[in-house]
């Protein structure tokens, strides 16, 4: 097998750190040097190279491509890899899909979600060559049988696919260069799926390791991360029903001869031990994990094999004992019960728990290692059998996971917490996918690295999301702005994203600090932002998020996920589950949506940060129930309407250097808008309109700068009351009718009259004017016309002459409009 058994191997970084993430306290490297003490060889593996990774089966180490190398805060060396899988890792029934013979040297580009791509560097054995081949190509005959693999297709857990040209070329490149492409991790397309999440993965690992720091078991750290990998892969493997020949290796491992001979590193012992357990029963990861945790807590002396260089079989036994101790301590009494039961009944029946049985027996100091081993050999064979039966059921991989045992489930539930703690953002369901929320349990079964995005949820409803709706492209290219005015108009459009948000620096800073502190602390929180429309609430929040994302990219901040929910863009509040826009529309009778949302950050481990935006300042008090309001917390911020100076600054900053406006013109707009609403949108709209007017007016002449006159015209256009104009342009009888309405109001002293009364007045007025009075039908028509314009408020017309009429505008306005005639 490999060299690891014989000698101590030293892993060290190659070169200086490429980049660092201060917040995560990780350092990235471009290569690693593996120094073997015995053979005194030194190999350097760089990013992009293909490597062999230790698996539970020493005969067949995993093949992977090295994507990233980094050292975390605890000086643990990690590597991020892209897995390749052997044919034997693929379920036999699926292998049939290929319809061809699979060479043992053929590997598949692994796209199965759920594998931990983060491994400890100590598991790296050596570098190998992986050559991508076209589908039809024959495997070339090579001398170096061990060192070369071929990849033709990808495997995503369900079916085989030909390598995408992109992947192919990238792989080819990597093969040619023999690695050493520092940016290959970015260039490899399928890995892009992984890379954005990488940081989060780091976070997870970090937190896991932290937990283990308590245990003072240095070795367990990396072994744990590896064991999680091992168990993952292994359980999957088991689920897939591959008869792994691990038993053999285990035997070797457990044999006293080997353990006497082998000067194992403690870590190796643990590692192999883990493998051991994992190999025999897929349930074992949980006890091993437990062990790590509980031993520390209980304060049981960590019998560190590494501190005793001469590892003996006794050592191993002691180790096992401790393990079994911890098993007993573990809360899964159910498992223990059943294992006990199994022991009582027959060992052979319950192969799944046979490991425990064995360990129990060892604990009870029935020291007959050989016979036990034999027994274990038997059990392992049986496991293979049972698993193949399971496989025959053709259960989904995930279901297999769940079906396997309670212990794996409870483990997963244990992990859920971890996940939630570490990456709450991921759990938050995007409002855009209207699929049923993936059960957290399911996603947590896998390590959080890939799963949330890639897990195919079987019950996904027909979402049009996978169809890509798109507005057709335009036939002609959009014209570029030709003149200064057009340029200015473009800049003044509300949709144009300004480089900075003037006049909102304070608010920006406040929100930024709020979110940043929460992000750094890893806590959750709520902030309520209110303000009248057009005061830059959404823009500021978006700006904050943008700069935070920038910071996260530069590794100044822990990475986070941003989800925007706009109440107006939802039809049903229940579809909204992090940033809420237009909060007041999320109001439902029981307010459970908001309750859940705002309750979330108050949960202990959640890292959810909510920025709620609404127009109403006292929304929490007014419509929210107490329990909702109290959860919203006290962080409030209200955006004041812009003052004219601020508006002026906004326009100037938008225009930047484009000279299209007179200073006075800008000031006029700003003052006018500030006096009315302080709505920046309105301000920009007026300016834009002014440029149009200016352009229109100056078509003949050359002057191309927006002057006061243009702005005034635009303002008039937008703010002038339409009523006066409408009345002035109404027909004569319509005007007389309005006069009649006024007269009738004055006569009756009530601001409401029936058409019959007004008709009499109308006839009288007509007589004064010396005009022919209209008929009743005409009057009715006039009345309904004015009603349609909403100059009048009119009752439904089935009452004919008795229909009541009211003015929709003030009497003064009407008199004013009529007087000028």
């Amino acid at each position: 097998m490999n060299t690891r058994q014989q000698s101590k191997i030293i892993y060290s970084w190659y070169g200086k750190p490429m980049s660092s993430d201060r917040k995560l306290r990780t350092l990235q490297y471009k290569g690693i040097i593996i120094k073997s003490e015995k053979s005194r060889t030194e190999t350097c593996i760089q990013l992009g190279e293909f490597i062999l990774v230790e698996g539970e089966n020493a005969d067949q180490p995993f093949v992977a491509q090295l994507l990233d190398l980094y050292e975390d805060g605890a000086q643990e060396k990690h590597a991020v890899v892209q897995w390749f899988c052997h044919a034997t890792e693929i379920p036999r029934n699926k292998q049939k899909l290929l319809k061809r013979e699979i060479s043992p040297q053929e590997v598949f580009f692994d796209q199965v979600s759920g594998y931990d791509t983060d491994i400890a560097v100590e598991t790296i054995i050596k570098s190998v060559t992986v050559i991508p081949l076209r589908l039809g190509e024959e495997l070339p005959v090579t001398l170096n049988k061990q060192q070369t693999f071929y990849v033709k297709q990808s495997w995503d857990g369900k079916c085989f696919k030909a390598l995408s040209p992109d992947t192919f070329s990238k792989l080819k490149e990597a093969t040619k260069k023999g690695g050493g492409i520092p940016n290959s991790s970015n260039s490899l397309t399928p890995l892009d799926i992984v890379s954005p999440l990488k940081k989060e993965t780091e976070g997870v690992v970090q937190s896991v390791t932290k937990q283990k720091n308590v245990d003072l078991e240095i070795e367990s750290k990396h072994s744990a991360s590896k064991s999680s990998l091992a168990k993952e892969r292994h359980s999957q493997r088991m689920a897939n029903g591959i008869k792994t020949p691990t038993a053999r290796k285990k035997l070797q491992l457990n044999s006293p001869t080997r353990s006497l001979k082998g000067r194992l590193l403690g870590s190796d012992v643990l590692e192999l031990f883990d493998y051991d357990c994992g190999a025999v029963a897929p349930l074992e990861p949980s006890p091993t994990k437990r062990k790590v945790k509980f031993s520390g807590i209980l304060g049981s002396p960590p019998k560190m094999p590494c501190t005793k260089p001469k590892a003996t079989s006794f050592d191993t036994a002691e180790h096992r004992q401790r393990l079994s101790d911890t098993i007993r301590l573990s809360p899964y009494s159910k498992v223990d019960d059943s294992s006990e039961k199994a022991k009582n009944l027959s060992r052979k029946d319950n192969t799944v728990f046979s490991v425990r049985l064995r360990e129990r027996q060892r604990q009870s100091l029935v020291l007959a290692p050989h016979s036990r081993r034999l027994c274990a050999q038997k059990t392992s064979a049986r496991i293979a059998e049972q698993v193949s039966i399971l496989n025959a059921l053709e259960l989904d991989q995930e279901e297999d996971f769940l079906a396997l045992s309670d212990s794996s489930y409870s483990l997963s539930s244990n992990e859920v917490e971890n996940d939630v703690v570490c990456t709450p953002e991921k759990k938050a369901k995007s409002s855009r996918t209207f699929s049923t929320p993936k059960s957290s349990r399911k996603s947590s079964v896998h390590t959080p690295s890939k799963t949330p995005k890639k897990t195919p949820s079987p019950g996904k409803p027909k979402t049009p999301q996978n169809a890509t709706p798109e507005i057709p492209r335009r036939n002609h290219a959009a014209q570029k702005p030709a003149s200064i005015l057009e340029e200015a108009r473009l800049r003044l459009h509300v949709s144009a994203v300004p480089e900075s948000l003037p006049c909102r620096e304070e608010e920006f800073q406040d929100i930024y600090n709020f979110v940043e502190s929460k992000l750094i602390d890893g806590t959750g929180g709520c902030m309520y932002i209110s303000g009248v429309p057009g005061t830059g609430k959404t823009a500021t929040v978006h700006e904050v998020i943008r700069s935070l994302q920038q910071a996260a990219e530069n590794d100044d901040l822990p990475s986070f996920q941003f989800i925007e929910i706009n109440g107006m863009k939802l039809t049903d509040p229940h579809q909204a589950y992090v940033q809420i826009l237009e909060l007041d529309l999320l109001w439902t009778r029981k307010q459970n949506v908001m309750y859940n949302l705002f309750d979330w950050p108050t949960q202990k481990h959640s890292k959810l940060i909510i920025l709620a935006i609404a127009n109403t300042m006292d929304l929490p008090e007014r419509i929210m129930m107490n329990r909702v309001a109290s959860r919203l917390g006290l962080t409030r911020m209200s955006f004041q309407p812009y003052t004219y100076k601020q508006l002026q600054q906004i326009i100037s900053s938008r225009l930047n250097s484009v000279k299209a406006f007179e200073e006075d013109a800008i000031q006029l707009v700003s003052r006018k808008v500030a006096a009315l609403s302080g709505d920046a949108r309105r301000c920009l709209d007026i300016c834009r309109r002014a440029t149009e007017i200016c352009e229109f007016a100056s078509r003949k002449r050359t002057s191309e700068i927006v002057k006061m006159a243009h702005v005034t015209e635009a303002i008039d256009e937008m703010f002038s009351s339409p009523y006066v104009n409408a009345i002035r342009n109404a027909s004569l009888h319509e005007q007389i009718f309005l006069k009649a309405v006024l007269a009738e109001f004055r006569r009756a002293g009530v601001e409401e009259a029936t058409v019959q009364q007004i008709y009499l007045q109308h006839v009288a007025l007509c007589r004064i004017e010396g005009m022919q009075s209209p008929t009743v039908s005409e009057i009715m028509a006039i009345c309904s016309r004015l009603g349609a314009c909403r100059l009048l408020l009119v009752e439904s017309s089935d009452k004919y002459l008795h229909m009541r009429v009211r003015l929709n505008i003030s009497q003064d306005d009407v008199t004013y409009a009529l007087k000028d005639e």
Binding site: R473, R474, L570, D572, D685, L732, M771, P774, L801
Partner: protein
């Protein structure tokens, strides 16, 4: 039986006169044919004129000229051009009373825009009508249909409203200013969209128009002057406040010109001589005093061009072969017809009603009176004050008269042989009312 006997007799008579009349009949027939041909020609041209003008009055093709809205026309045209050519998003409202030519304006502008070279086939139109799309769900479905996006969804039936909205927003979000095809949303009866729940559709449309997504222009047509007050504050803030007012702001001189324009035959008219004659006649008409009076009355009554159309339509229907040109009296008649009080011509019914009032004198039988009364109810000349409950007997229902005294008086005067006591009753009892 009777008819067959008659025909027999006829055939006998004709049989008898057969020999003598044969040459006479032939001559007659020839002259008749000549006449008919002339007639046919005239009828043809007359019908043609009628057809042409009727189409002008009834259909709102974007063929006729627009009056008094040059400014608005240019404004809207520029607006659309900017969206289509530059990809600038906008939103605008066309506001004006009924019949002020909002739709006509839009159609004219669209027609011109489509004729432009750089525009052709370069934008998508979505027409929505508040009367048809009564809620956001149906509106969204209609938008999806009109944008031809349903084929993207394939055979999948659209699920919920939410999915629909998300789908559409996704579609519009994908685009950007320079590369996507501009979309023109035309919302007829805009005021009805305002009443949709939360104004979700409007919010989203305006939001798209204010963000860097697919360029859209939202144009709403409404007759309500208070439309802006109906918009929710956040919707209002996103609206870019372009308002195009159409107010029929022409005076009477222009009105006369419109009248002339509307009746004139186009220069391309095939029968040039006839067209000349017709147009000259129209010119004379427009200078005629009575015609001007008639038009003035209508103008005072309503500036709505549709009422003018209606009047001209009535006059036009008098045009026949023998009466090939519209005269002043035609117009006058038409206006009379047009201005007729709908309720005044139901005199005899009213008379019966009055007879009931004079119940005691004439002592009609009860069923007769009840029948007359029911008739009045059906014509809605009287109306129960409250809803007829089962309890009260019909004889004792409180009723409301839906007529004005003047109407009654007018009606009685027109009524030729009105019984004198009814006249007396009217004179005495209506005078104090």
């Amino acid at each position: 039986m009777k008819t067959s006997a008659m025909s027999k007799r006829k055939s006998k008579e004709s049989g008898g006169a057969n020999g003598e009349c044969i040459s006479q009949t032939f001559r007659n027939k020839v002259s008749e044919l000549n006449l008919q041909r002339n007639c046919k020609l005239e009828t043809f041209s007359c019908l043609k004129v009628q057809k042409l003008l009727r189409e002008r009055f009834c259909h709102h093709y974007a063929t006729g000229k627009l009056f008094g809205m040059d400014h608005q026309y240019r404004h809207l045209l520029e607006l659309l051009k900017r969206t289509i050519v530059h990809g600038e998003s906008n939103s605008a409202l066309i506001i004006g009373p009924r019949g002020s030519g909002k739709t006509a304006l839009l159609k004219h502008v669209l027609k011109e825009v489509k004729e432009m070279k750089q525009v052709r086939e370069n934008f998508l139109e979505v027409h929505l009508n508040g009367l048809l799309q009564t809620n956001d769900k149906t509106a969204l479905k209609e938008i999806t249909r009109q944008l031809h996006l349903e084929n993207v969804v394939g055979d999948k039936v659209f699920g919920s409203f939410a999915e629909n909205l998300a789908f559409l927003l996704e579609a519009l979000r994908k685009g950007d200013r320079t590369s996507s095809c501009p979309v023109l949303f035309i919302l007829d009866e805009f005021d009805l969209f305002v009443h949709h729940k939360n104004q979700t559709l409007l919010y989203n449309l305006f939001d798209i128009s204010q963000s860097a997504q697919t360029p859209v222009t939202v144009i709403g047509l409404t007759c309500r002057q208070d439309i802006l007050e109906l918009l929710e504050k956040r919707v209002k803030s996103r609206f870019s406040h372009r308002q195009i007012y159409l107010l029929n702001s022409f005076d009477f001189k222009q009105y006369i010109r419109i009248f002339k324009e509307k009746l004139s035959l186009p220069a391309k008219y095939p029968d040039e001589a006839f067209a000349q004659k017709w147009n000259n006649n129209i010119q004379h008409l427009s200078e005629d005093k009575t015609v001007q009076d008639t038009l003035q009355k209508l103008f005072h009554y309503s500036k709505d061009l549709r009422s003018l159309h209606l009047l001209l339509m009535l006059a036009l229907s008098n045009v026949t072969v023998h009466h090939p040109l519209i005269t002043a009296s035609d117009l006058h008649e038409a206006s009379k017809q047009y201005r007729m009080d709908s309720r005044a011509n139901i005199v005899h019914e009213f008379q019966k009603f009055v007879q009931r009032k004079a119940h005691c004198m004439y002592n009609f039988e009860k069923p007769v009176v009840m029948k007359a009364f029911e008739h009045l109810l059906q014509l809605e000349l009287v109306k129960p004050i409250e809803r007829p409950s089962v309890r009260t007997q019909r004889e004792y229902l409180l009723m409301k008269l839906l007529l004005d005294n003047n109407q009654i008086m007018d009606a009685l005067q027109v009524y030729p042989n009105c019984p004198t006591d009814i006249k007396q009753w009217a004179a005495s009892s209506l005078s104090w009312l």
